[in-house]
């Protein structure tokens, strides 16, 4: 009865059970730690000095189609944030992203776009302080034009765990800005 195969099976079964229990403990305990750190109401963030610019782009990579130019928006901003509470024993990385939310032309339509994001893998890098920082992405809309529309900037985060569920949240700071008018050659002259 007690041959090599049954022994190996018993050992691997026991190992799998133990690993599963440890993983469950890690998931539950880290969730309570996040609750204790009140990560869903982080109020150490500020987004300020938002300067919006706009231009017309002709490339496919900027949303242009059929040779028609597409309106693109870019911003510069200041950002201060302390995301250290998001790091505990079950945090593999924090993905932090700056979003702008704005209404569409028709009733009930809404849009949300990402201007900037960052992968943070260590607690030492979790304090952000950016001055006059240029957005990572040039943003276009489903509609042809969205100049002069009001938008709201927000800093959101996603915790990627070592094991368990993905956790999402946002910081309490919101900063309004208006999409810029496209500069034409006439304006510049």
């Amino acid at each position: 009865m007690f041959n090599l195969v049954t022994r190996a099976q018993a050992i691997s079964n026991h190992a799998i059970t133990c690993t599963a229990i440890i993983a469950a403990l890690v998931i539950v305990s880290s969730f309570f730690q996040l609750q204790l750190d009140q990560v869903w109401s982080l109020n150490t963030t500020s987004i300020s000095n938002v300067q919006a610019g706009a231009s017309l782009k002709g490339s496919f990579q900027y949303g242009a189609k059929n040779g028609k130019q597409k309106e693109n928006s870019i911003i510069k901003f200041d950002l201060d944030a302390d995301l250290t509470p998001l790091f505990n024993w079950n945090t593999k990385q924090v993905f932090v992203y700056l979003t702008a939310e704005y209404p569409g032309k028709s009733d009930g339509s809404s849009n949300k776009v990402t201007y900037w994001d960052k992968i943070i893998t260590s607690k030492d890098d979790a304090v952000l302080s950016l001055k006059n920082h240029r957005a990572k992405y040039s943003v276009w809309d489903v509609e042809n034009s969205f100049r002069q529309r009001d938008a709201e900037l927000k800093l959101e985060w996603n915790i990627q765990p070592h094991v368990g569920p993905l956790i999402f949240g946002q910081t309490s700071a919101t900063t309004p800005f208006t999409f810029a008018e496209v500069k034409t050659k006439k304006d510049r002259a």
């Binding site: 041959n3 090599l4 195969v5 496919f60 990579q61 949303g63 189609k65 593999k92 990385q93 993905f95 992203y97 979003t99 569409g104 028709s106 009930g108 339509s109 809404s110 849009n111 949300k112 776009v113 990402t114 994001d117 992968i119 893998t121 992405y137 943003v139 809309d141 489903v142 959101e156 996603n158 990627q160 765990p161 070592h162 094991v163 368990g164 569920p165 993905l166 999402f168």
Partner: protein
């Protein structure tokens, strides 16, 4: 060695396989997707998801928000792609999504194929809800490394022979 024990062994094996298949299909029905569990094959979401990590999907959402990690299929690639939603545009009945891999320099516009500039809900296999590291590497080894595959099959055959003694 008689026929009765051999048939019993075969039944036990069939029970294991059908059990696994039923669990997989049940999960698929609950999560409303054709593959409720996927194994990461590329490094475009590193360091969050590495090759061999296992992801659990959910596909009963009506819409997605920016920041969600979704799995989608397109006509240009034959493997499902795991990327993050960076833009969403919606009205009462439709939602357009733009995705990008965290580790990629540019968005997925060129992956969507001709004349397609956004994803819709019907392109999605699901939204990533849970994560298990490394376990899926076994399936990558089984499909991509023939030495490992033959090794495993050899071991199974050997154990079957040993058990019948």
């Amino acid at each position: 060695m008689n026929l009765r024990t051999q048939v019993a062994q075969f039944l036990a094996l069939a029970y294991v396989f059908s059990g696994a298949y039923m669990t997989w299909k049940t999960l698929g029905v609950v999560a409303n997707t054709h593959s409720p569990i996927v194994v990461v094959l590329t490094g475009s979401m590193e360091p969050a998801f590495q090759r061999g990590d296992v992801l659990f999907l959910w596909n009963r959402q009506k819409s997605n928000s920016v920041g969600d990690v979704v799995v989608y299929e397109t006509s240009t690639k034959d493997i499902p792609i795991v990327h993050r939603v960076v833009r969403e545009h919606h009205n009462q009945d439709k939602q357009y999504l733009l995705t990008k891999g965290d580790n990629n320099a540019v968005d997925d516009l060129s992956l969507y194929g001709r004349k397609k500039s956004y994803l819709t809900q019907s392109d999605l296999v699901g939204t990533v809800k849970g994560y298990l590291p490394k376990v899926g590497y076994v399936t990558i080894l089984l499909t991509e490394n023939q030495y490992f595959r033959f090794g495993v099959f050899g071991l199974m055959a050997l154990s079957a022979l040993l058990q019948s003694e």
